[in-house]
Subunit: 221 residues, 2 copies
C-alpha cells in the first residue's frame, strides 16, 4: 500500500496537492503547521478540507519561527506589502519556512515508514520566495536523505504550473468548486476569492480568470 | 567585525568549538536547544559555560522534536543503548536533530546579518549518526543558501579530529580543565567524566586517556 504525507495549509495550492495525492497514493495523511501566522482562518479551512477529503490531519505547532525572524505574516504589527518590492521578496516571506516544514514532515514520515512527501511549492508564478524554487527542493531532498540515511521522494506536482494551470488541475481532479469556495489563500485570511487586493489574491484571481476564459472559449476540454 | 553563531550543548565538542569560535571571530553568540532531552544538566552546564566564556546564550525551545519520533534521549521510558547495535545507529539518535538545529540557527543568523555558523559535529569517531558526516553538512550548507538566498558558511572544526585530538585542541585553546570538569557529555547527564558506561562516556574517556598518555610521553608539546 503506497503512502504519502502532504504539507497542507488549506490554501489553493496545497488543497490541489491533497487531491492529487489522493489520486496517486493509497493512503494520504496531511500536516498543517501552526506557526503564529496572521489568521486562524487558514487552519480552520485546513481542518475542514482535510475532514471532507477523509484525510487525517496532524497540526504541528512551531512557536519558534515567529520568534527568531520578522515578517508580516507572523508579526501583527507589520503591514502586508500590497505589491512586491522591486529588489527584495515581499515582507510576507517567512525565512526558512519550507525547509522547516519539510524537515519536520520528513522526520515524522520516517517514523511511520513513509518515503513520499508532497508540497505545493512552485516557481512558475515566482513571487520572489527562494524556497519555492525547484533547485532548492532538489537540494533539500538530497540533504534530507543524507541527514536521516533514508530515501525520501519529495513530489512537487505544481512546480512548473502557473496559477491558471493549477486551476485546471483542480478541475481535472474534480475539486474546482471546493478549491474556489473553501480554500484560504488571501494574506488577510478571507476564504474563497479573498480580499482581492493582496499579492496572493491578485495572483489567484488573475489565474482563475485566465482559466475560466480558456474553459469558456473551449480551449480546455 | 566578524561574527559567528555556535550551536552549543554544553558538551565537550561544542564547548571546544565555542572557544575555537572566540579565537577566530570578534563576536560570538551561542544557541542551545531545549528539545526534551533527558537531562536538564546539559542546559545548566551550557548556561554556566557560556556565562564564563562571556558569550550570550540563546535557548530555543523545540517541543515538537520529542513528539514526532522516538529515541532514548527524549523518551524517558526507553533505556539508553549500552553499546552500539551492529546494524543500526544507537537508539540515542534523534532523527533530523542537526538539520533542525542548524536550520533554526541559520534563520536566526540571517535576521542578525551573520553568515558564519559553527557546529561540533564530526565523523572521525563516527557513532552511526548520519547527520554528523561531512557529506551531510556540505549538502545542508548548500540547501540553506538556496532556501534563504544567502551565503552561509558552516564551520566544523572537529570534523576530522578523533576524541583525543579534540582534547588536544581544547588544551591548545587553554580550556582543557574547563572542558574536563564542566561539560556534560554523558547520556545520563553526569557532568565531567560522567557515568563511565554509556557509549558517549566510553568514547570521551578513551580519547582523554589516549591524549593524556601522549602528553605525558612528550609526544605532544
Amino acid at each position: 500500500m503506497s503512502k504519502a504525507i502532504v504539507v497542507f495549509s488549506g490554501g489553493q495550492d496545497s488543497t490541489t496537492c491533497l487531491y492529487w495525492a489522493k489520486k496517486n497514493f493509497d493512503k494520504v495523511e496531511a500536516i498543517a503547521y501552526d506557526y503564529g501566522q496572521r489568521h486562524v482562518a487558514e487552519l480552520t479551512a485546513a481542518r475542514h478540507i482535510a475532514n471532507e477529503a477523509g484525510v487525517h490531519l496532524h497540526i504541528f505547532k512551531l512557536d519558534l519561527m515567529s520568534g527568531i525572524s520578522h515578517n508580516s505574516l507572523t508579526d501583527q504589527e507589520m503591514n502586508v506589502d500590497a505589491d512586491q518590492p522591486e529588489n527584495s521578496p515581499p515582507n510576507t516571506l517567512v525565512e526558512g519556512r519550507n525547509m522547516l516544514f519539510l524537515t519536520y514532515a520528513a522526520v515524522f514520515a520516517k517514523a511511520k515508514g513513509i518515503q513520499d512527501l508532497i508540497t505545493g511549492v512552485g516557481q512558475s508564478d515566482y513571487s520572489g520566495y527562494p524556497d519555492c524554487r525547484n533547485v532548492f527542493i532538489v537540494s533539500l531532498n538530497q540533504t534530507l536523505n543524507l541527514s536521516m540515511d533514508y530515501t525520501y521522494r519529495i513530489h512537487t506536482p505544481l512546480m512548473w504550473l502557473d496559477k491558471s494551470e493549477i486551476w485546471q488541475l483542480a478541475d481535472e481532479l474534480g475539486v474546482f468548486e471546493l478549491v474556489r469556495d473553501q480554500t484560504v489563500t488571501c494574506y488577510h485570511g478571507i476564504p474563497g476569492s479573498g480580499c482581492g487586493n493582496c499579492p496572493s489574491c491578485k495572483l489567484r484571481n488573475r489565474g482563475l480568470n485566465k482559466y475560466l476564459n480558456a474553459r469558456k472559449n473551449g480551449r480546455i476540454e
